[in-house]
């Protein structure tokens, strides 16, 4: 798996030109590369206002004073950073399909997206926290900031393994409690878990996070190539499920899957969560360059 490059030079350059956008979260703590709604101390001009007592004389515009003989204070734009949180589901079900075209493996696909978003965040000097979780005990990577962390970040992402059972609710709740500054939070998962994810996302939203959910499924999960009298074994839990699959049963499955995805999408829209449903048959860059852009999460 180590020889599987997460992305190449061309993709990296494209990513450098993009940045993550949060619409609601503006709680910058350090100087970043984003224009803040607050007036600040950067060199970007914003506006003028009348001098009032107590203003810092260093910010008086002496050129105006010389011309008009009236004191004006020059207002400059403030630049701030964004707290970016990326959470990756590394449960065993993500490492699927285990055979066939490698590019369609959900875990590889998810890590590419994960690394791509992280690289964008580092490139724009955002405060980045990465969490690869299958349960609540995982420790986050970061926070980190700046391009200098590019290589450690890639090494971290490249070294991730898919194993175990994910309780996404627990993981998200725990993260919401422990993480520092709320910010833009992307969750990458296949959501194939009976416990659900809603409570965790509610907790994040309640803490002021702006949440994006990238829902990854492989083509053979969307249209399963199965038939006959089978005992399906869950790769994650090891539990078996006996089922006789014929054409009618497959149709039922496909309808059920559609209903499930539609339900998640509707739920996300209702809560203001960015939802991107992804089929690993589609190139992963397209998700960032097209799907997320269309949602306004990337520009």
């Amino acid at each position: 798996m180590a020889d599987e490059r997460l992305f190449d030079e061309t993709t990296r350059r494209k990513l450098e030109q993009l940045m993550l956008v949060a619409r609601r979260v503006r709680a910058g703590a350090m100087k970043g590369e984003r224009r803040s709604t607050k007036r600040g101390t950067s060199i970007e001009f914003a506006d003028y206002r009348n001098y009032v007592r107590g203003d810092d004389l260093r910010r008086l515009d002496w050129n105006i004073y010389g011309r008009l003989e009236r004191p004006f204070i020059k207002l400059l734009e403030d630049e701030e950073d964004l707290a970016v949180h990326l959470i990756l589901d590394v449960s065993a079900s993500m490492d699927w399909p285990q055979e066939g075209e490698r590019d369609r493996n959900k875990f590889l696909y998810a890590r590419r997206l994960f690394a791509g978003l992280a690289y964008m965040a580092l490139a724009t000097n955002d405060r980045l926290t990465l969490l690869a979780t299958s349960d609540s005990t995982a420790a986050p990577f970061g926070p980190i900031r700046g391009r200098g962390f590019g290589l450690p970040m890639l090494a971290y992402v490249g070294g991730l393994k898919a194993a175990g059972i994910t309780d996404l609710n627990a993981a998200l709740k725990d993260y919401a409690l422990r993480a520092g500054r709320p910010g833009l939070c992307f969750i990458i998962s296949d959501l194939l878990m009976p416990g659900g994810y809603q409570d965790g996302i509610n907790r994040l939203l309640g803490r002021g996070y702006e949440v994006g959910l990238i829902h990854i499924l492989s083509p053979d999960e969307i249209e399963p190539p199965l038939g006959g009298d089978l005992r399906l074994v869950d790769v994650e839990t090891g539990q078996g499920q006996e089922v006789t699959i014929d054409a009618g049963m497959r149709d039922l499955y496909i309808k059920r899957l559609e209903a499930w995805r539609d339900g998640i999408r509707a739920d996300c829209v209702r809560r203001g969560v960015h939802y991107v449903g992804v089929d690993t048959g589609v190139p992963w860059e397209k998700v960032i360059l097209f799907n997320l852009r269309r949602l306004g999460a990337v520009k």
Binding site: Q98, P225, D229, L230, L232, D246, L252
Partner: protein, 639 residues
């Protein structure tokens, strides 16, 4: 309903291993998937929505159990008790005579097809232990299937039966059946046909019970019942034909006549019911070879003609029949007796004091007499010629008659022995270079023969009354040989043609190596010439038969023979409602015996159909399973 082999029902126990195998088979293949999360939901949905889903899952088992049940049912050979025509040992006589070709059944089928259906129905209702012998009754009755209870054989044999075009020989058929039935405990003879046993009606001592299944409904039929030509010397050939209406309604018919394949005449006649209409024509063209007469029903006629086999007849131009020989003599008992004793000779004696008769003869015999003027056309036999003719000159008499020599290698001298013949004297013949010497003595030839001017001539150079030749056995032999040479007999002597099924007697000329027969359907048969008269019996189809006699150097003789179905017994197709045999009257038999009709084929067919459904259901599942197999990780659970 009962079963012939109820033990086979024990086969139902096979259901137990099937169910066990099914349960074993249902140890499902284990397949690893990323998550069963959605499948669990689907199962909950489907089981909630369709309660019969579980049953559907077992549909293969259900189908297999149905197949087993049907097969066991079939193997047990279920049957129903049905009324049957006959039981025991059954001699099934199927009439295959010409009248069985009549197509008077309501569905347009022929009587023979109906007879076969009746025969099959009898086979279908055979009881246990019943056997059937199938005899096809045609001109030569044959046992098609010897006594058997194997229904498959019987059905195949009956289905393969074909009707003939000849008269049936019921005497032979009933004798055959009686011989076969002799000794059986319960024997019966079932006659399927349209009645009319002919000569067999008086046949005594038929064992067993005789039953009759009549076939046919109508009597409407027109036939050409006679067709012949005659040619008297010097007159144009005459035609004699006869159309007979065997039906009970007056019928219109078109009678057409073809001469050597070309339509000569076609006329419409009305033939009263049950009567014959003779037709005589004197205007046939000279020199024709074959006449073909046909009957056609006019389009406006409502009287059907159900039997087609007797609507066509053939005739071959008469070839003169007997050879006409004119004997001109002052009186020679030996010659007259010899001519009278020879077959195929029509001898006439002329008056030597009057000129030769004007009508032509095949052979002229001049005994010690010569006609004034020119010799007549035709073959000539001179006996002791008194003077010169255009063919030879008579020389001096000779008495050097010792040491007779006979040309043994000549066919005209076959069996002729002159060693003991004494001749007083003979005349020397000069200038007969065209003739070969067949018999000679020291002084010269006694018998000369040869061809000159397109005719054959022979000279006997001595007076028969001055020798003891007429008293010898050689005399009739010599005359027969000479006359055979003059005018050879016809290859086939059947001036009026033959009837279908009659044996053709073929007399090839001496020296023939092979006889080749061309049948009406164009096929040929070759007969080796191993005796004087050959018999050819394969005259089962009406039409023209061509006989070619082949010698070592090619064709020697050729003749054509017309074979016709002039059989009133066959053309009168009115079905008989009863038969009379041995003085008893046999009415159509009711089905008063008990037969068993098996219906296992239905069960077997149903099993096959269910098997097809089972295959389809299985295949449908399999197709879904294998379509994407390469993309799957599947693991078979061993054991």
């Amino acid at each position: 309903m009962a079963f012939l082999t109820p033990l086979a029902l024990a086969g139902a126990a096979l259901a137990i291993p099937i169910i066990l195998l099914y349960m074993l088979r249902l140890r499902r293949r284990e397949v690893i998937v990323s998550s069963t999360f959605l499948w669990q939901q689907v199962l909950q949905d489907s089981e909630a929505n369709t309660p019969w889903q579980r049953l559907r899952r077992n549909i293969l088992l259900l189908l297999q159990l149905i197949i087993l049940a049907l097969l066991v049912f079939a193997l047990a050979r279920p049957f129903m008790i049905v009324p049957a025509v006959s039981a025991g040992q059954i001699e099934l006589l199927v009439d295959a005579s010409a009248s069985m070709n009549a197509t008077d059944l309501p569905d347009g089928g022929s009587r023979f097809e109906e007879a076969k259906r009746q025969a099959l129905s009898i086979v279908d209702t055979l009881g246990a232990g019943d056997t059937v012998t199938v005899i096809r009754v045609a001109d030569v009755p044959t046992v098609v299937i010897p006594a058997t209870d194997d229904r498959v054989t019987l059905r195949a044999g009956i289905n393969a039966l074909q009707p003939g075009l000849a008269e049936a020989d019921w005497v032979a058929a009933l004798t055959l059946a009686a011989a076969d039935a002799a000794g059986a405990q319960q024997a019966s003879i079932v006659i399927i046909g349209d009645g009319g046993l002919g000569d067999a009606e008086g046949l005594p001592g038929i064992p067993g019970e005789i039953r009759y299944v009549p076939v046919g409904v109508s009597d409407s039929n027109l036939a050409i019942s006679a067709l012949a030509t005659r040619a008297l010397p010097g007159q144009p050939p005459q035609l004699f034909a006869q159309i007979t209406n065997y039906g009970s309604q007056d019928a219109d018919v078109i009678f057409d006549l073809r001469v050597d394949g070309a339509l000569f005449t076609a006329r419409r006649y009305t033939v009263p019911a049950g009567q014959s209409l003779p037709l005589v024509s004197e205007s046939l063209p000279d020199g024709f070879g074959i006449l073909q007469a046909g009957l056609t029903r006019p389009t406006d006629s409502r009287v059907p003609d159900y039997l087609a086999a007797d609507d066509t007849a053939w005739a071959v131009a008469a070839e003169g029949g007997a050879r006409r020989v004119l004997l001109m003599t002052a009186g020679n008992l030996f010659l007259e007796q010899a001519l009278r004793s020879l077959p195929g000779i029509q001898a006439f004696r002329g008056d030597i004091n009057r000129p030769l008769p004007a009508e032509p003869y095949d052979l002229y015999i001049f005994d010690g007499w010569l006609p004034p003027g020119n010799l007549p056309d035709g073959d000539l036999l001179f006996v002791n010629p008194p003077g010169n003719t255009a063919l030879f000159t008579v020389g001096a008499e000779s008495t050097a008659t010792a040491n007779p020599t006979v040309r043994r290698d000549d066919p005209r001298m076959a069996f002729v022995d002159f060693d003991d013949v004494n001749v007083l004297k003979f005349k020397r013949i000069i200038g007969a270079d065209w003739a070969e010497t067949l018999i000679a003595v020291e002084g010269g030839p006694l018998l000369l023969a040869g061809e000159t001017g397109g005719r054959r001539a022979a000279i006997l150079t001595f007076d028969l009354r001055e020798s003891d030749l007429p008293l010898q056995i050689t005399w009739p032999v010599l005359m027969a040989n000479l006359l055979e040479w003059f005018t050879p007999q016809a290859v086939v002597s059947a001036p009026d043609g033959l009837l279908v099924g009659q044996t053709m007697a073929i007399r090839p000329a001496a020296g023939a190596a092979q006889v080749r027969l061309t049948l009406p359907d164009g096929s040929t048969r070759a007969l080796p010439v191993d005796r004087e008269t050959l018999a050819f019996a394969e005259t089962g189809a009406p039409g023209i038969y061509r006989v070619d006699v082949l010698g070592e150097n090619g064709l020697m003789q050729s003749a054509r023979v017309a074979v016709n179905l002039f059989a009133p017994g066959e053309s009168a197709i009115a079905p008989r409602s009863s038969l009379s045999l041995s003085g008893a009257t046999i009415t159509p038999s009711a089905r008063d015996e008990i037969g068993q009709r098996e219906f296992w084929p239905l069960a077997a067919l149903a099993a096959l159909l269910v098997l097809l459904v089972e295959w389809y259901v299985y295949h449908r599942r399999l197709r879904v399973r294998t379509m994407f197999r390469p993309a799957l990780r599947q693991r078979e659970v061993m054991g």
